[in-house]
């Protein structure tokens, strides 16, 4: 279902309003204008959110108001922080706003059950990368005036944006296109797709348990102490029911009698998110993992090479590098002698 | 040697020659070039003598010269085969090339290896285009002619050569890419239907008939676009005068003599048999373009001052007549058109050679600077007048036969006759206007002859001879020192004012010294052309005899297509005076496909 017939273009209108607001914010001007821009931008975002809610509800078919509140708040913080980041004339503040964006993104990750990524993001981005930025800013930034909030204090190239109109037009175009793809999906509604994906993912997750033998053994021991999880002729096979629960065939050794039985596993037996990610990393993308490490190594070398201070060479050093002999006092002689020196290199007969 | 192997060797011999030129010393280049082109000529003559299908219209040998699997592109084979028309054009090519090369002996000084090497490559490419029975092989040859020609113009051309070569390249390349698209389209549709990729011309032509009328129409249009650029057709002709003016003499000869014929040959061999139904719808419109070309370009010729440009424009007008004959879609015009290709190649090529020989002596082609050269170059003047007359279409020379047949065919194609090929070309007045170009043709060619050949003597290095004795001799004004340009002109003592002066006293300078009038080499180049022009003019029947079977084959689908077309128009009431349809014509009008509307409208406009 492409668009609700009521507001076919509301998304674009919202985007356009937001774009206008961003434009007012981004160009240097009086405070009032920037406030107006803020308001307009907020209006745009508001419209966008309301439309998005409407559209999402329509596409899911669920009741209005079932909006995930916390991701929305986190998202708003992220967007606002990003806006301020790109509009703030002082890079240091911009970097701080970026940290805000990173943190709210991490929250978003948490709400999507990507705990590992959330913390990794904060550690790597906010902790490492942003610090690097700060250092560089301190190395390079000229700050004529440090009075907070005074944009006049920033350098010219930080105050005046270049070609904001074209950039915002391009940005709007991209926004409209991507928004259309998200909300105008003609394929099956995301809900259905997600359900199918969940079913598939459940199966996958249970299967992954097999590649974690120790954990599986522990779970079996937990469920049926004394059971030996030894492979039979068919191997140890997880059987996964339609409802998502899993069972495993084990050998039941009671008093020397051996029989096999399928016992159900508890839901907690499935691998956790971190386990899944780690498993995928080493099972599916081992080569990429290696490459990533190589990249990091090379980046380290590169950074070292780049950051090494370029020493201005004196004339002597340059001559030495070029394989010439050092200048001596003899060279500072009258022209006639200079000619004689030159004629050594010149072909024979040059003087006769 | 089998026929197939002979064809292959005709393709390979120039390439072998080109390689030999590349690795041999510079002064040998021209001899190797001439020798390999002569080898090709010899091979082609032997082939023609052994050719068994002169009067059957069949393609011989029409086999893949490589065993299956050697050329592994899907559906592409290296099938070579010629029928009588192809063979005639091959003979024209192999005949003109040695002459053009020999004619360049003194004209090209410096970078000879490149010149002769590229020229031989060009020869091979042209031959491939004429021999190929596979459209991809054809296209490779057709397209590859551009590259050597580009270098010939860009390296050895005149002052404006860069622009000219660029224009030549862009025009012909863009045009032929569109052609390729059409061919590939038909091939892909054919592959869809048969599940086998097959690029052979016969398969494509067979399949094209099953396309929908709309598809046929656009395929035809796309094919024509490429070929018409090459011909060149009226609105897209503007590359030709430039290319001709800038190209070296030999390049102009081959360009006019053979390269343009690739376009008409393409129309004849590929476009017309491919989509008869589309062709009958569009010929009316195309004929209007032809007539405009003939009349307007003839007038444009009258305003030229550069000899080569004039002849180049005349080529455009002449090819307009040729296309008019071909588009008449009856055997009369079609035969004339094929013959026109050959004749135009001979006479225009010869005219370019004449101009080139003159240019070597005076280093100008500007008619304002030249006058009355008959006085100092009588033999040259004879040849110029002779080839002008062939070009003007003097009966008894070759140009007449073809022009006459083309115009007759075009006339016959204006009315429904009982000739079996009802007419399509549109109103008679239009064709009469085209024939009016006979007059303009005479005007501009005689204008050139009148300016350059006749009149009081005037040439660079001569000064006007008003009030002076005739200046008898012209040295080679090539800037080779003082002695070269010496005009030993105590004219009062000279009787004929035209003695060739091998001015041995003019020592110094290392270049070729040319006599005042044509040298023996130059006469030997022009004389065979003149003899062939005369022979074709007086006894063209053998040629017409062997062309006829081929044109019959090309026209095979047309009577039916025309009947369909007429039935369609009649059913729509567009045909005011309904012709008496033959008894075997379908009584129910062919289904009017809405998609034919565009083509039909063109046809209606033409009427």
């Amino acid at each position: 279902m492409p668009f609700p017939s009521l507001t076919p273009y509301a998304l674009y209108i919202a985007g356009a309003i937001g774009a206008i607001g961003l434009y007012l914010l981004i160009r240097p001007g009086p405070v009032n204008v920037r406030r107006a821009g803020t308001l307009i931008g907020l209006a745009g975002v508001g419209l966008l959110v309301s439309e998005a809610i409407h559209i999402v509800d329509a596409s899911v078919g669920g009741p209005a108001g079932g909006i995930p509140l916390i991701p929305c708040i986190l998202g708003f913080i992220a967007v606002a922080g990003a806006t301020r980041m790109v509009t703030h004339p002082k890079p240091v503040f911009a970097a701080l706003y970026f940290i805000l964006v990173v943190v709210s993104s991490a929250g978003l990750f948490l709400s999507m059950q990507a705990e590992f990524m959330a913390f990794a993001l904060i550690i790597v981005y906010a902790g490492a990368i942003l610090i690097t930025y700060m250092f560089v800013l301190m190395l390079a930034q000229q700050s004529p005036s440090e009075s907070p909030g005074d944009i006049e204090g920033a350098t010219h190239y930080d105050r005046v944006p270049r070609e904001p109109l074209a950039a915002i037009a391009v940005g709007f175009l991209l926004l409209a296109t991507l928004g259309t793809t998200i909300f105008g999906s003609r394929v099956a509604p995301i809900g259905d797709a997600a359900n199918a994906a969940v079913a598939r993912a459940t199966v996958e997750r249970w299967r992954e348990l097999e590649s974690l033998p120790r954990r599986l053994d522990a779970e079996i021991a937990l469920v049926r102490p004394g059971a030996v999880a030894a492979p039979d002729e068919n191997g140890r096979v997880l059987a996964i029911a339609r409802d998502g629960s899993a069972s495993v065939r084990i050998q039941w050794d009671d008093n020397g009698t051996v029989r096999t039985d399928a016992i159900p596993l508890p839901a907690s037996a499935a691998p956790t998110n971190i386990q899944t990610v780690g498993l995928a990393l080493v099972k599916q993308f081992p080569a990429s993992l290696e490459l990533a490490s190589v990249i990091l190594l090379m980046a380290m070398f590169g950074a070292v090479v780049l950051a090494r201070k370029q020493i201005e060479l004196g004339e002597d050093e340059r001559r030495e590098a070029a394989g010439l002999r050092r200048l001596s006092l003899d060279d500072a002689e009258p022209i006639g002698r200079g000619d004689a020196t030159a004629s050594k290199a010149a072909p024979v007969g040059g003087r006769s | 040697m089998t026929l197939s192997a002979m064809l292959l060797w005709m393709l390979l011999a120039p390439l072998v020659g080109a390689v030999a030129i590349a690795v041999s010393p510079r002064h040998l280049a021209k001899h190797i070039g001439l020798a390999s082109s002569l080898v090709v000529l010899f091979l082609s003559i032997v082939f023609a003598v052994q050719f068994p299908a002169w009067t059957t219209g069949a393609f011989v040998p029409d086999t893949n010269v490589f065993p299956d699997g050697v050329v592994s592109l899907t559906g592409v084979t290296f099938t070579l085969g010629v029928d009588s028309v192809s063979l005639l054009l091959i003979l024209l090519t192999t005949f003109l090339t040695p002459l053009a090369l020999w004619g360049s002996y003194t004209a090209i000084e410096g970078r000879e290896r490149e010149f002769y090497g590229w020229f031989l490559t060009l020869l091979s490419a042209m031959l491939l285009a004429f021999m190929a029975r596979d459209v991809i092989a054809f296209y490779v040859g057709y397209e590859f002619t551009i590259v050597p020609m580009l270098f010939l113009i860009a390296i050895f051309g005149g002052d404006d050569r860069k622009y000219a070569s660029l224009k030549f390249f862009v025009f012909t390349f863009v045009g032929s890419v569109i052609t390729l698209a059409a061919l590939v389209y038909v091939a892909s549709k054919s592959a869809e239907a048969t599940k086998v990729w097959d690029f052979s011309l016969s398969a494509l032509q067979a399949h094209a008939k099953t396309l929908s009328p709309k598809e046929q129409f656009w395929v035809f249009v796309a094919l024509m676009v490429g070929f018409c650029v090459k011909v060149p057709f009226f609105p897209v002709h503007t590359w030709l005068p430039l290319a001709h003016t800038q190209a070296p003499t030999a390049g102009s000869v081959i360009l006019a003599g053979t390269l343009l014929k690739l376009g008409t040959y393409g129309v004849y061999r590929i476009a017309l048999p491919m989509a008869p139904n589309a062709a009958v719808e569009t010929v009316g419109f195309l004929a209007i373009l032809c007539v405009i070309a003939v009349v307007a370009i003839s007038l444009v010729c009258c305003a030229q001052t550069d000899m080569k440009k004039l002849v180049a424009y005349s080529s455009v007008a002449h090819m307009g007549v040729c296309m008019l004959g071909m588009l008449s879609l009856n055997p009369l015009g079609m035969n004339g058109s094929i013959l026109y290709m050959i004749n135009h190649g001979l006479s225009t090529g010869a005219l370019f050679l004449c101009i080139g020989f003159m240019y070597e002596r005076y280093h100008t082609k500007d008619m304002d600077q030249l006058s009355g050269l008959a006085k100092v170059m009588p033999i040259w003047a004879f040849f110029v007048v002779f080839f002008t007359m062939t070009s003007v279409g003097l009966p008894g020379l070759n140009g007449f036969v073809s022009e006459f047949l083309c115009l007759m065919g075009a006339f016959a194609a204006t009315t429904h006759t009982d000739s079996g090929f009802p007419g399509l070309l549109g109103p008679k007045w239009m064709i009469v206007a085209g024939v009016g170009s006979l007059i303009f043709g005479a005007v501009y060619m005689l204008y050139m002859v009148g300016r350059v050949v006749w009149g009081p003597l005037k040439a660079p290095g001569h000064g006007d001879d008003h009030g002076h004795g005739a200046v008898a001799a012209v040295g080679h004004a090539g800037g080779h020192g003082a002695g070269q340009g010496a005009a030993s002109g105590a004219g009062s003592s000279s009787t004929t004012a035209a003695g060739p002066k091998h001015d041995d006293s003019a020592a110094g300078g290392h270049g070729h010294r040319l006599p005042t009038d044509l040298s023996a080499r130059e006469i030997a180049i022009l004389a065979p052309l003149a003899v062939i022009c005369l022979v074709i003019g007086i006894h063209p029947y053998p040629l017409l005899d062997v062309i006829t079977p081929s044109t019959k084959a090309t026209l095979a689908g047309y009577p039916e297509a025309v009947r369909d077309f007429d039935a369609t128009r009649e059913s729509r009431g567009e045909l005011a005076t309904a012709p008496a349809l033959p008894a075997d014509a379908p009584t129910t009008p062919a289904a009017t496909d809405a998609s034919t509307a565009l083509g039909s409208n063109l046809g209606v406009i033409a009427r």
Partner: protein
């Protein structure tokens, strides 16, 4: 199936429980779409920032913002398909971002030393 949406607080608290909560819950389509919208907005804002800011450091910062947006999209899609690949890609993005930060900032410092300014307009050698 209904989803118990963690609040911000309980979300943080539930991290510890996540391991034990083995019940796989499918993604809420609303959540997916909201996250995607946020991702797009961040990307576009980052892009606009990249295009309009003249400070080279800011340009790189905006690049990081765009990468951030991409990360969100990856995680979201991974969540939507219940697939770990999305998060794996985020790991790689983090790697690349770190490498980029190291190298690019080194370059910026280098450039700054040459012209004594951070303005990108000082470097217009690409012009013909």
């Amino acid at each position: 199936m209904t989803t118990v949406l963690p609040s911000l607080a309980s979300g943080l608290a539930s991290v510890a429980l996540a391991a034990s909560d083995a019940v796989v819950s499918p993604a809420d389509p609303r959540l997916v779409q909201v996250a995607l919208v946020i991702s797009v907005l961040l990307f576009v804002i980052g892009l606009i920032g990249f295009l309009t800011r003249r400070n080279m450091i800011m340009m790189f910062l905006c690049t990081e913002l765009m990468l951030q947006a991409a990360c969100i999209a990856f995680v979201t899609f991974g969540r939507m398909h219940m697939n770990a690949s999305g998060q794996v890609f985020v790991i790689f993005i983090l790697t690349v971002a770190a490498a980029e930060a190291a190298l690019a900032l080194g370059l910026v410092v280098l450039l700054y030393r040459k012209r004594e300014t951070l303005s990108s307009e000082a470097w217009a050698e690409l012009k013909e």
